[in-house]
């Protein structure tokens, strides 16, 4: 991976493009669905970063006068029972979803890399021990483990992130381990050792970069699933606590009773969750096709 000449690769693929924009246009044309996914993700990140510029309403301040206001007028998407602007809560909610998704994916991947690399490269009892541990963790469905963990740690943004990222670790560790096992046997590893590199340096500088592509594929898939898991946890009242505008939490407040009286409280947060996860899935599929042609369907 290291030292790949991306421009040359693209031109070989027929990009015939100069400059970053030309190359991006080529990628977008080759992966139209991936481009749509990327556009959704850009919009999502934009909302999260510039939330305070996008809406002039505060997501937390309540106003009894507009309790359950219908969509339209000043409040585009209506207001909830406490008179909080739904659009503002959705835009600020993007921050929470993004924070959760980035931190969980990062924590899960970093721990997974450390464990998987150690297990695959060192082998022996380290491998055996980590294999058994990942077996144990994978025997519980992600949501169940996250539920018990978030209940154990108490509701807050930080504990929700921990509760979601720890169950992800075995999946990344597995991917890194199996690739490490293959790369470890390559001649270049032998060569690196022959010139006197330390084991640690060989593992990090030579083995790791060659295991990253499948991890990126997995991480993009996990990015979406962390958003879904956070939404489910918050929906069940065990994730992000009030008054933070978490998308899942917005649905739990509004759930069954508002189906009749205020459907906009049910529809819009769900669209936000689904759209963002849809975007990550589209983008993830394109990245998988790009990085791992064998899996291409």
């Amino acid at each position: 991976m290291a030292g790949t000449d991306y421009s040359a690769e693209l031109n070989k693929a027929g990009a015939n493009a100069t400059g970053v924009f030309g190359q991006l246009r080529f990628l977008a044309r080759s992966y139209p669905l991936g481009a749509i996914g990327a556009a959704i993700m850009v919009l999502f990140v934009f909302c999260a970063i510039f939330a305070d510029l996008i809406t002039r309403f505060d997501p937390l301040s309540t106003n009894a006068a507009i309790s359950l206001a219908r969509p339209g007028g000043q409040h585009w998407l209506g207001a909830d029972f406490m008179g909080r602007d739904v659009f503002a809560r959705l835009v600020y909610g993007a921050r929470i979803s993004l924070a959760v998704a980035i931190s969980c994916t990062a924590i899960g991947s970093i721990l997974g890399i450390a464990i998987g690399l150690a297990a695959g490269y060192l082998g022996g009892w380290v491998d055996l021990l980590t294999q058994r541990l990942t077996d144990i963790m994978q025997a519980l469905p992600l949501l169940v483990l996250a539920l018990v963990m978030s209940a154990a740690l108490g509701p807050s943004l930080r504990t929700t992130i921990i509760a979601i990222s720890i169950p992800l670790v075995p999946y990344s560790a597995r991917v890194i381990r199996s690739n490490t096992l293959a790369v470890r046997e390559m001649a270049m590893v032998e060569a690196a050792k022959a010139v006197g590199m330390s084991e640690f340096r060989v593992a990090v500088r030579h083995v790791l970069p060659n295991t990253i592509a499948p991890l990126i594929v997995l991480a993009t898939a996990q990015f979406g699933s962390t958003i879904l898991t956070e939404a489910s946890l918050s929906f069940l009242g065990l994730g992000i606590p009030e008054p933070y505008p978490s998308w899942g939490r917005m649905l739990s407040e509004s759930a069954a009773e508002y189906i009749r009286t205020a459907p906009w409280l049910v529809i819009f947060p769900g669209i936000a969750i689904s759209l963002v996860v849809f975007g990550t899935n589209l983008l993830g599929d394109a990245i998988r096709d790009l990085l791992d042609p064998r899996q291409r369907g």
Binding site: L33, P141, L236, L251
Partner: protein
């Protein structure tokens, strides 16, 4: 094969033991137990009384002692008493079990009935507009939280009939009972069917590229015979594995869907028990889920060997 089975069984026990320790310790990391919650909500402050309840429940003992008591009980079928209802845990869990099992079975059936045929169509017509539409729909299905889909379905009910479907036990008629579960099962199964479809598609594509398929076509077998008799049978192998993993995936969907539809199954019960810190219920239910998942995976591995004679477990 015999030695493999023994080894595999040993690993299963080890995994379950590990889970029991993790769950037990996790649950006791929580600041505050059921007694604190009860006292907070009742506003009682008599410390002596509180200590007595804690002693009655065995919560004052060290964690290893509590753990040994739990496992010891588990060995001879004593799962302890629910803190909240004070009934035996087993009699709380067992009546709820068939409901969730029916729901899970129907959801899985839905996933296979919808997912496999659509996956085949998508693969056979690769890169046609049908394929593109199906792929986008399946991705959308994977992107929708199942609780939201459930809420949308409920909304549809309100719009169409003006009422919400209320789950009653026992249902008035067989058909009634079936319909009341079929709707939530579809909400859970939709997501799974998307997964099954994507997998069937990629597995079919893999198989369709192989030589024996070309041979079958060359000797003049009809497209239907090639696709279903030759290709699908082999393409189903990886799909079977995933349906096993799916069981674990379904549990997550069941938890939220039972909550949305107010179905008194074990999955919703788990969430309630977690909220109430009802340790005996939570730890036994989680253990039960782990047993189901581990056994399912084991059975899938075995089924895999039965379906594909090339696979032999030795070791």
């Amino acid at each position: 094969m015999g030695a493999y089975l023994v080894r595999r069984f040993g690993l299963m026990l080890l995994t379950l033991f590990g889970i029991s320790v993790i769950i037990f310790v996790l649950l006791r990391l929580v600041p505050g137990d059921i007694v604190d919650i009860l006292f907070d909500s009742a506003g009682m402050v008599n410390p002596a009384e509180k200590l007595k309840i804690q002693q009655d429940l065995g919560l004052d003992k060290p964690i290893p002692v509590q753990y040994a008591a739990w496992i010891g009980g588990l060995m001879h079928g004593d799962l302890g008493y629910s803190y909240v209802s004070e009934k035996p845990t087993l009699s709380e869990i067992l009546p709820r079990l068939p409901i969730t099992a029916k729901l899970a079975g129907m959801a899985l059936g839905f996933a296979v009935l919808i997912g496999v045929p659509l996956g085949v169509i998508s693969a056979v017509r690769q890169n046609s507009w049908v394929d593109h539409v199906l792929r986008v729909i399946s991705l959308a299905g994977l992107s929708m939280p199942s609780f939201w889909l459930g809420l949308l379905i409920l909304m549809g009910f309100v719009a169409a009939f003006g009422t919400l479907p209320i789950y009653t036990e026992p249902p008035k008629t067989m058909l009634d009972g079936f319909l009341l579960l079929a709707v939530p099962a579809a909400a859970v199964g939709f997501r799974s069917s998307a997964l099954v479809m994507r997998l069937t598609r990629s597995s079919m594509l893999e198989v369709l590229r192989q030589d024996y398929i070309r041979t079958a076509r060359a000797k003049g077998a009809s497209p239907g015979a090639v696709n279903f008799n030759h290709a699908l049978r082999n393409a189903m192998l990886p799909v079977v594995t995933v349906i096993g993993i799916e069981a674990a995936f379904l549990i997550g969907g069941l938890i939220v869907t039972e909550t949305v539809f107010n179905i008194p199954g074990v999955a919703r019960f788990l969430v309630e028990a977690i909220r109430w810190r009802d340790y005996p219920i939570v730890q036994n239910l989680v253990m039960f889920i782990a047993v189901v998942v581990v056994v399912m995976n084991f059975l899938v591995d075995m089924l895999y060997a039965v379906l594909d004679p090339r696979i032999k477990y030795s070791d």
